[in-house]
Symmetry: C2
Subunit: 351 residues, 2 copies
Amino acid sequence: MRQFLPATAATAAICVLALTLMAATARADEGPITLRDMGSFHVGGREVVVSGKPVTEIRRTPTGPLTKLDPNGVYQVEQTYVQYFLPANRRGAVPLLLWHGGGLTGVSFETTPDGRPGWLNYFIRQGWDTYNSDAVERGRSGFASPEVFAGQPIFLTKIDPYERFRIGGGAGTYSNDAAARKLLPGNQFPVEAYDNFTRQLVPRWLSTDQAITDAYIALVDKVCPCVIVIHSQAGLFAFKAAQARPDKIKALVVVEPAGIGDADKAAALKNIPVLAVFGDYFNVDARWATLRKTAEIYFDQIRQAGGNVRIVDLPQMGVRGNSHMLIMDKNNLEIAAIIQKWLAEQPGLYK
Amino acid sequence: MRQFLPATAATAAICVLALTLMAATARADEGPITLRDMGSFHVGGREVVVSGKPVTEIRRTPTGPLTKLDPNGVYQVEQTYVQYFLPANRRGAVPLLLWHGGGLTGVSFETTPDGRPGWLNYFIRQGWDTYNSDAVERGRSGFASPEVFAGQPIFLTKIDPYERFRIGGGAGTYSNDAAARKLLPGNQFPVEAYDNFTRQLVPRWLSTDQAITDAYIALVDKVCPCVIVIHSQAGLFAFKAAQARPDKIKALVVVEPAGIGDADKAAALKNIPVLAVFGDYFNVDARWATLRKTAEIYFDQIRQAGGNVRIVDLPQMGVRGNSHMLIMDKNNLEIAAIIQKWLAEQPGLYK
C-alpha cells in the first residue's frame, strides 16, 4: 500500500470533512462511536499497614498447591477506578466526569437495564471526553479489610430501591411476583427490567464518605478543568470537591443530589454554574421531599454568595413520571439532552 | 443538510471503502477505534432470601433523614458484569470473551499500569466483538453478604503479587522502598508502575468458584458461539464452561492457567482448539512449576481424547522475561499478536 499513501492521505482529509458534516446531522443517540482513545486508570488512595495477624495457608485454586497467606504488611486502599472515552470529534472544551450514586457503580451510566444506551454513550456522542468512575469501595475500585473500613457494608434487598427510588410508591409496593408490583402512575422507570436492574446493586459502607471525596479530589487534580455530572449520593462528593478545587470545575450538574456541601463554604462555588435536575413524585415521598428541601436551602446559600444555581423541575417542564433513577428511565436521553443544552449554553465549554 | 443526503451517502460509501483499506495498513495498536456500539450488562446469578435479622435505621448521607434498613428479604446475588465493544470493522466471526485472573477484575485487560494499551483495545482493533467481564463477587459484579458467601474474603498486600507473580523472585524480594525491590533479571513487568498496579487489586472469596462458573456459563449461553481468552484463575472457569458447553466455544486461549477442568470430562474439549501460553522463570518458582505441570497433565488428557492443545513457551520462542502478569508486561502486545495469529489460523474464525 505504501505507494498509495499520498492519495489515501488526501482521501482521508476529504472523508474526515464529509463524515464530520454527516455526523453533525445524525441523531445523537445512534450511529458509530469513533474514539481517539479509550482506557482506564485508578487514582488516589493511600497505604495502610496491618500487623499482628496470623499467617495461614490457603489453596487458591482447587488443583493448586497450598500457599502462604500473610495478611500482615502494606495495603493500597481507597483508590478510585476511572474509565475514559475520548471521541474523535471532540466538542467539549474540557472533560466531562460522571459520578454515580449510592449502592451502585459507573454501570448506572452505561446501558440501561432494558438495553437502551445510557448517558455515557450519549455524552461521548456529543463530543465530550467522558470519564466514568466507580466511587472508592464500589465496583472496580475495590474495597479494604475490616481493619481499614469501620463497620460492615450495607446490602440492598430487591425490595429497597423499588420502594425507596420512587418506582413503587413506598413501603408495601414491591412484590416478589413482578406482575403484582405497584407502580407510581405514569412511571418512566423501565419496570419490566427491574429484576435486571437489581443485578447492578453493590454493597457500600457508611463510613467512607471522606475517602471517596479524597479520591475524587485526586481525580479532579489529574484530569480537570472539567464538567462534573453526578447522581444522588455523589452530590456530597461533587460539592465537597467543588469547595476544595473551585477553579477546576467549570460546571456542575447535580441530578437529584442526596448530599450537599458545607454551608460555610458555599461561597467557594460562586463562579461555578450549577444545574440541578429533579424528577417526579416529590409530593408523594416525604424522604425525597426532605432531601430536596435540604439541597434547595444549600442552593440559596450559593446564590447568596453570588453563585448561579438553576433548578430544572422536570414535571414543571412537562416531563412527567421520572423516578429517582432518571438516568436510566425510559426518557433518559431526553433528560440528557436538557443537560447537554444547558452545558452548551455555558460560555466557552462547548464548540 | 437534507438536500445533500444522496451526495453524502455516496461520499460515505467511498469513504468507508477508502478508510477500511487504510485501516488495514495501520498498526494494530494505534489509530482511532470505531465502534458499531458499546455497552454493558449483567448476566446470571440467583435470588436468595434472608430472614430473622434486626431492622435498623441508618443515615445514608450526612444531611439526609434517618431511613429504615431492613436486611430481610430477597437479594439478587452472583451475577457477572460484562462490558462489550463492537468494532465497525468486524473481522472475528464470533465474539471474543476476556476473563481475568484472581484478585483482579476486567481492568487487567484495559490500560496497563504504566499507561499503555491493554489487550482489550488490541483485540477490538483487530476487529473482534470483545466482551470484558468481572467474575462474580469482583468489581462491578458486586458481592453478597456473609449469609450468602461462606468465609471471609482474602485481601492481598502490596508484597503478595510482587513475590508470587514472578516479578521479584519470591519471598523477601519486595521492599516498601521501590528502589530496593529485587527484580527477576530481564523482567518485562512495568516495575516502575508496580505501586499503581496494586490499585487494581480487589478482594476475593475462596468459596465462590461454582458461582463464578455458573455465571460464566450463563454468559456463554447469552453471547456464544465465541472465543474465550483467559488469564490465571479463570482457567478453572473456562475449562468448566467448555465442559458444559463444548459446542459453543470455538477456541480457547489460556494464558498461564492456574486452574483446570475435570480429567473425566477432558473428552468434551476434543473439538475445541486450545492455545496455552506460558511466560518465563518457571525454573525458579516451584509454585508456578507445579501449576504448569498440573495443566500439562490435563492437556495430555484432552489430547488423548482426540483434542488439540498447542503450548506456546515464550522463552523457547525467544520471548524472554515475562512475569505471570504478561497481559500487562512491556511486551504485552507482542504476546497478543502471537494469540491473534493463532486465532486467525483457526478455520472460519477470522476474516
